[in-house]
Symmetry: C2
Subunit: 412 residues, 2 copies
């Protein structure tokens, strides 16, 4: 926390000193007053430089410690979060016809999604606060990443999930020994019940929409992308959007680098929502308020009808000169198959929605053919085999007769 | 290939010059004459040193290029294989009562298993040979890793799998656009059919038991473990064993380091087989021949009744002063749950079999309480959710009534 200088409320814009905040949100605005963590960039700039990064052999997110709101007490014991590969595309770029295309494979984080970046921060903050139980509500990835990261550090977890959470994600967090509460209801009902439990039991709250520190963890994906591109960013960075916290983190990471003078411009951010659940897309395109939407998409990780972080989600796109697009479930499944076929990367629906979004943005003329793009593949396809099966082709069944095998395969 | 000096047959021990080998196996011994790749360690020692490794920022397996049988032509385009974390255990070490315990999480490779280390080598060798189609038979991980690594490099794949392959692994390789042939039969029938297809169509053969280069890829896991431990290895290294190629690779990696003077001693290698399919365990313990075994275990990746690499598999253990143990399916499921709970790592059955094996080895007095152990967790649990569910506890179902929630959770 040595470089955190204070907090700013995203609603009333009041600035608070570091020690003035003892809860998660703005004391005036209440639960909707999500806070933004402020840093002393001048001091950070003295310790975090291109040269210091080059000399740093730590490939986890802790290499960016001066830009993170945690002490170094517990860091050496955590799961190794971050350091995921950024691939320059050949096959996929050709199909899309884009000049330069990069893929950030976040499915290779320890519990197989970008959410590990936030969860490991939550676990550290709980330890720093002396709290031994953490809770969150989640459509899946936040939950399993919290459970995994907490298990490694010896903390207990209570996880509230909506009934529709895919079995892959559920099994994963049960293996991590979380106490899982499966709620008959939608994401909002699940979220509200978790909040009541947190209030009653005094657990640490990992709900990304409330807790101001989680977006700070998520921003490390942007820091890594920038460093992996030697701080020469692509014109666009595309990411799928549910609650709005991840896209807020992506913006924050680039914002930090801009303050430090490590980049000259924040890339345009493309927010991608599923057509069946697109409240932020609609608000952005109509310049209207964010209205509750149905949750009608197979991309469970971004199926959030009432996003809890609308301000950060809309501002990330607006301030970066970006845009929002929405994509059909069919195009998400096609993107899953396309990414696997051309790049050897298997992404979950929400993870490849950003790729489907790039295709839409190119069709709509939002992204120009000569512009370069990075997309963040947020989660591993192994988490959601059911939808993977919908996207995959069929195997050929045969017995062990050699002649028949040769006859059949000769036609392939 | 600049440092490869030749090949030695593991059966007749004939040494061949580099250019004398145009097939995969020994010209005299035929298909059983699996070759071992020989290196010019003196020259390698001049370029691969502790200092050169420290100065190398590449965290993939290509950092060990002088010890690998490939040219550097295609390396910059591959998936990023290797660089997986090695964790020092706290929670699990306490449960086992071992002095020092380390866990190598191979589930964080690009297609989520150790097999990527071999598959990426196969893909490079096919490209070097100008062959555009690769084939293998596999119980799952070798297949999906081949399909993923080949897709990234624009190669076509034909994969022969036994019908029992878990749906997670099947879906994954279908997403990578492999042509999958599902064979009604056991692993041997699948292997034989793939061989007939390779002979007929002239495809590149990725079958680890035949192809001498794959064990060279797998050995990088040992190189990484050694480097991550600053070349101060644990007394034991435990790994599960199916075909015998992985354990052969682990030995070869340590052997290489010994030749280079980077380590003083090869650690004792603990080979772990499932009780329901333990031909190598039986051969080792009885000092008898390797006899075909039933394939009766839920750990599909090591369910190999007729191991194709028995010589390397037995010698790895014998020469290192190690041992073989066998473990029940029940203990594998318990190890899966234990690893998740204490370390936040979700492993597939074959991946955690090595942990169950450490427990048996401690009980049998094979591993002493004051000895240190590293175990290689070979594959991600998300690949096999069905068995994950067997190991996991149950969620608590409830509606959104707050009072009832508090009443129920107060008892947890």
């Amino acid at each position: 926390m040595s470089y955190v200088s204070g907090f700013r409320c995203t609603i009333c814009e009041t600035i608070y000193k570091k020690d003035a905040i003892t809860t998660y949100t703005c004391p005036s605005c209440g639960e909707k007053g999500i806070l933004d963590v402020l840093y002393d960039y001048k001091s950070i700039g003295e310790v975090l430089t291109r040269d210091s990064l080059k000399a740093n052999s730590d490939t986890s997110i802790w290499r960016y410690l001066p830009l993170l709101p945690v002490e170094d007490t517990y860091l050496s014991d955590t799961l190794k979060v971050g350091g995921t590969p950024l691939y320059k595309s050949k096959g996929l770029a050709e199909v899309l016809g884009t000049r330069h295309l990069y893929i950030k494979d976040e499915g290779l984080n320890p519990t197989a999604s970008l959410k590990d970046r936030a969860s490991v921060i939550a676990v550290i903050k709980a330890l720093e606060a002396g709290i031994s139980t953490i809770c969150c509500s989640s459509t899946g990835n936040a939950a399993s990443s919290l459970a995994g990261n907490a298990a490694r550090m010896g903390l207990k977890t209570f996880i509230f999930v909506p009934e529709r959470a895919p079995i892959g994600k559920l099994t994963q967090l049960l293996i991590y020994d979380a106490t899982v509460v499966s709620v008959a209801g939608d994401y909002k009902a699940t979220f509200d019940l978790s909040k009541a439990a947190i209030d009653h039991f005094g657990w640490y709250n990992r709900n990304a929409a409330i807790n101001p520190y989680l977006v700070e963890g998520k921003k490390t994906v942007a820091l890594e992308i920038a460093e992996q591109l030697d701080f020469k960013l692509t014109d666009w960075v595309a990411v799928s959007v549910g609650d709005g916290c991840t896209i807020g983190g992506v913006y924050k990471g680039f914002y930090d680098l801009l303050q430090l003078g490590l980049i000259k411009k924040i890339p345009r951010i493309l927010g991608v929502q599923a057509s069946g659940c697109a409240p932020l897309y609609k608000a952005f395109r109509t310049n209207g308020p964010v209205e509750a939407a149905e949750e009608n998409t197979l991309a469970d990780s971004i199926s959030v009808g009432v996003p809890r972080n609308p301000v950060k989600a809309l501002e990330a796109v607006k301030k970066s000169g970006g845009n929002y697009v929405s994509v059909s479930d069919e195009s998400i499944l096609e993107a899953m198959s396309l990414l696997g076929k051309t790049e050897g990367i298997f992404g979950e629906p929400a993870g490849v929605a950003s790729l489907a979004g790039i295709q839409v943005a190119i069709q709509e003329g939002v992204i120009k053919k000569d512009e370069s793009v990075t997309f963040i593949m947020t989660g591993n396809g192994l988490k959601d085999i059911k939808n993977g099966q919908l996207a995959a082709k069929e195997p050929i069944h045969m017995n062990s007769n050699v002649d028949e095998m040769i006859r059949i395969l000769s036609q392939k």
